[in-house]
């Protein structure tokens, strides 16, 4: 029993990171209808920049973290401007493939600078585990969960009350109507890429603090797909819940497969089997908008 409780706790932590990455994905999809296959590589980019700043340039962690956020904003602007803007109005497959190409480029740049071996962040938080309800939990896990929850709260408020947030929701609802009300669509697109890069970078930094980072960390981006499909491609709440559910689910399935069937590596596919089932039963997810077609 304790084995599974531990799996659930670990799943919640990993799931909160999935949620963050899924949030970035959903923000981009909502505003621009772009499916971003490079979401995992944005996580990787943020993680490596923060790593370089703290370890190689010896900048205190908090400052390094802030500089990473600034870098992410710039990265988002560059990507939107250079890569996505020329493709506005192109077919699905072209837009998907351009983000795939972008992920290759980002991966290759990171490997060029930092190689492929695992890099470990310096310990920022105490390593002594805290006991919650009889389970020992590392402080970094708690911090990860709290930070994710905090970011979600911030963005919920942002989308609900700020001018920019309302404009983004309007654009997501109907681009033409928003444009005719004087909203600059291009700014919205740029903004959504910036937000996506920032939340992904935060996810990357948290992940780096938990497990260390290597060049394959971008693989995490694939896990976002089950999470967002489960939650609904264009729902923020869906991203949060989807991420947590997928995180827990894959950890528990993996643990169960290992313990009961002796199968290793089930973690990689558990989420995707769930994904296929969801697509069959409820293709628009828990909170997604149904696409209605008419001639």
């Amino acid at each position: 029993m304790e084995y599974y409780l531990q799996l659930i706790v670990n799943g919640l932590v990993v799931g909160s990171i999935y949620s963050l990455v899924a949030l970035g994905f959903v923000v981009i999809y909502k505003a621009t209808k772009v499916v971003n296959f490079a979401q995992g590589e944005l996580v990787m980019a943020g993680a490596y920049v923060c790593f370089a700043l703290t370890v190689q340039f010896h900048i205190p962690f908090v400052w390094a973290f802030l500089v990473t956020l600034v870098f992410s904003v710039l990265l988002g602007l560059v990507i939107e401007r250079m890569v996505l803007r020329p493709l506005i109005g192109e077919e699905h497959i072209s837009v998907i493939m351009v983000t795939v190409g972008m992920s290759s480029v980002l991966k290759s740049v990171v490997q060029l600078f930092w190689g492929t071996q695992i890099r470990v962040y310096p310990q920022v938080l105490p390593t002594e585990p805290v006991v919650i309800a009889g389970l020992p939990v590392a402080p970094v896990y708690i911090a990860a969960f709290i930070l994710s929850a905090l970011l979600f709260a911030v963005f919920s408020v942002f989308f609900k009350f700020s001018r920019m947030g309302v404009a983004m929701r309007a654009t997501a609802f109907d681009q033409q109507a928003a444009q005719s009300m004087g909203i600059g669509i291009k700014n919205i697109f740029a903004m959504s890429w910036c937000i996506a890069c920032v939340v992904s970078a935060v996810g990357g930094v948290i992940l780096g603090n938990i497990n260390g980072i290597n060049a394959h960390i971008g693989h995490l981006g694939l896990k976002v797909f089950p999470a967002v499909i489960l939650g609904g491609l264009d729902s923020l709440l869906g991203a949060a819940l989807g991420g947590l559910i997928i995180g827990v689910l894959e950890n528990v399935c993996d643990g169960a497969a290992r313990q009961l069937l002796g199968l290793g590596g089930f973690r990689e596919v558990a989420a995707f089997i769930v994904l296929v089932v969801i697509l069959m039963i409820k293709p628009y997810g828990l909170f997604g908008t149904k696409e209605i077609e008419r001639l």
């Binding site: 890569v83 493939m97 795939v100 972008m102 991966k107 797909f225």
Partner: protein, 348 residues
Amino acid sequence: MQGKCGLFFTSYRAEAQVFPSGFQKSMVGLFLAILCAAPFVLNTHLTSIVNLVFISVIGAVSLNLLTGVCGQISLGHGAFLGVGAYAAGQCSVHGVPFPLAILTGGLVTALVGMVFGVPSLRLKGIYLAIATLAAQLVLEYVFLHGGALTGGSNGLLLKPPSILGFAFDSEIRMYFLLLAFAAGALLMVTNIMRSKYGRAFVSIRDFHLSAEIVGVNLFRYKLVAFGVSSFLAGVAGGLWGHYTGYISAEQFNIGLSISYLAMIIIGGLGSVLGSVFGAVFIVLLPEVLNALANTLAGFWPGIALHVVAMREGVFGLVLILFLIFEPEGLAHRWRLIKAYWKLYPFAH
């Protein structure tokens, strides 16, 4: 169809030919002659590259039929190749003759492809792309943990194929075998595209609701598209497995699916000729990079370490640049060049 100046058709049959003019026929004949002579001129390494091009041509043209012509995005094509490779490989290991093994590989893959094509009735665009991505990852897991069926992480070892006692055990012999298969696949897809099925596929791609209204049975034609495409992918996979002599799960990862998509995008979506161009381009790209690195290594010894990392980056960069600057692909550029020479020197 618009022919060259002075080329007139007096019957529908004449107009519907694949190669309508004598000039085109002689050019294709010349090209085939060059291809047949090539392995005797090229060295073994270059021949092996051309062999890989042939296999990629089959895979690319099959994906192009599904994604370029029928509009069903598949991110799982690499895994479909894998299914074909394992199925054909298992047949060969158990002593089934090579042609039958390849055929079985294709049929098994067609079946698997159709199973994964079933969601395509309900899912479109992005959702289908993600569903096929799931297919890719699930199949990859099966390859790695399939036990006796796939050889698990050890993979399968295969002997060189042989037909009626004639063993294809050298690069040159494989060359002609693969050339025949590639030419057959190209001819098959060209003819499918000219048939009722091809027109139905295009109508589904262009607007599925109108297609349904004019009487195209969406479910049936989408399944046929998945089936035929996976069949050819399975054949390509089977050939690849027999060619390399070793099948392992890493060969058929998501990177392979992506490079096939890159081939059809760089070559030209929905174009048979484009699939050939794309396959040539993507297979040659790393070779050219390696050659470049070897040349540069004289001036900058450390570069070999970086080439591996750079290869993927260059691939991504090429993909992005093509999508931005040449979204219609190389086939479109080829048409423009031909038009230019047709009108030369009166370009306007």
